[in-house]
Symmetry: C2
Subunit: 233 residues, 2 copies
């Protein structure tokens, strides 16, 4: 029993925070009065309070209260009693670091597997995979492990970017990086473009939004998955 | 006593491997007959042999032999007897992982501090800093630590990229990522654009190449450093 939304990004260009997802979220969280927010990823290093205020403002539009996990004394207990959970984007290394420091990996996994609705955006989506090894973030802190929730049987590359034609920059393309990952690892990787999300309903994973997504499997040619279709990895 | 070249990239757009640096390297390595190459970063996951062959081909043009460190039984001993060392680019996580696995961090630091000429490009430059925390690479393996050589008292962000005007992608700019780093860390960071390198001569560090470099220090506005001028951090 699982009920998840795993989104590439919180915000699409020219639109407000979570705006493009709110109609979907209103239905997804329809039985949730108070949503538990995990602000650990701290985009741009903002405080937990400031980040939680941003989530509160967005969810107020669909009449859902938001509480930050840092407002509670026992993070683990708080997770176990949550009606719904949202992990926001930011830096995946710091997010994972705090998940281990606050010892909530197992409780988070447990409630997601029990069907408590979970929303992740960006870094909050990366942690749904087997490891955080396909993040695009800078390693600004050293987490105790790269192992994450494993609520889906592949990894996420959020904010997936196609190679830019005619680029003169010599840094690797996203595709090159993911292929490099597969020299060392077997886990498939799904490149989710901004504006795409996965809807997980029990064991069925469906790609949503208007774009295709790019699936990388070791020793196979990458394939484009169509929106609206079940993702089989 | 130090003698280092710390380059943003091995290859600039429209030019062959190391080509733009060869005239400088001919002088820099003038007393070196056989250069020790560290291929651990494996760009694109290529083999140590294939990567070493690429370095050999480039250095042949300036009459320098290249031997890969993997060709020797004892990596640590080999480092301690090297005439000169070149660490190539690729994935910084895997490079640092192998540096720890082969236990060469201290010996490498020792010979660099003793004045053995050292060339780093990209990942091989990242490891000259205090930590590898400003790499742009994907964390495809989990190294035992992010601590690196500390032969300079700041970190390197190689392949530094200015924000792209009018970009619609919502991923963070390089500057945003480095500022995020400074929420958690005090180490200054130098953004080195492709085609720039640092020349280290004892305790004097000079920026070379035709571009300025961008220095980030916690709680200060970033500053552009001029080429040809000593870098004081």
């Amino acid at each position: 029993m699982k009920k998840m939304i795993i989104a590439s990004t919180s915000t699409i260009y020219g639109s407000k925070y979570l705006e493009y997802l709110l109609p979907t979220l209103a239905t997804f969280f329809k039985d949730v009065k108070t949503l538990l927010f995990i602000p650990y990823a701290r985009p741009g290093g903002i405080s937990y309070d400031a980040y939680t205020a941003i989530a509160q403002k967005a969810f107020k539009k669909i009449n859902i209260n938001v509480k930050g996990i840092h407002e509670f004394e026992n993070a683990n207990e708080t997770i176990l009693h949550a009606e719904g959970v949202f992990t926001g984007g930011g830096n995946t290394f710091e997010l994972v670091n705090q998940i281990y420091k606050n010892d909530i990996l197992n409780s988070l996994k447990q409630i997601v597997n029990n069907g408590i609705p979970y929303l992740g955006t960006s870094a909050g989506s990366n942690i749904c995979g087997v490891t955080m090894m396909n993040t695009n973030d800078m390693p600004i802190v050293y987490p105790p492990s790269f192992k994450t929730l494993g609520c889906i049987n592949f990894n996420i590359n959020a904010h997936y970017l196609d190679p830019i034609e005619g680029a003169t920059h010599m840094g690797e393309t996203r595709e090159t990086r993911i292929k490099e990952f597969h020299v060392f690892n077997e886990t498939p990787v799904l490149g989710l473009r901004e504006g795409s999300w996965l809807s997980v309903e029990n064991e069925t994973i469906t790609l949503e939004g208007k774009y295709t997504a790019r699936l990388f499997t070791p020793n196979k040619k990458p394939v484009e998955l169509e929106s609206g279709v079940a993702v089989v990895v």
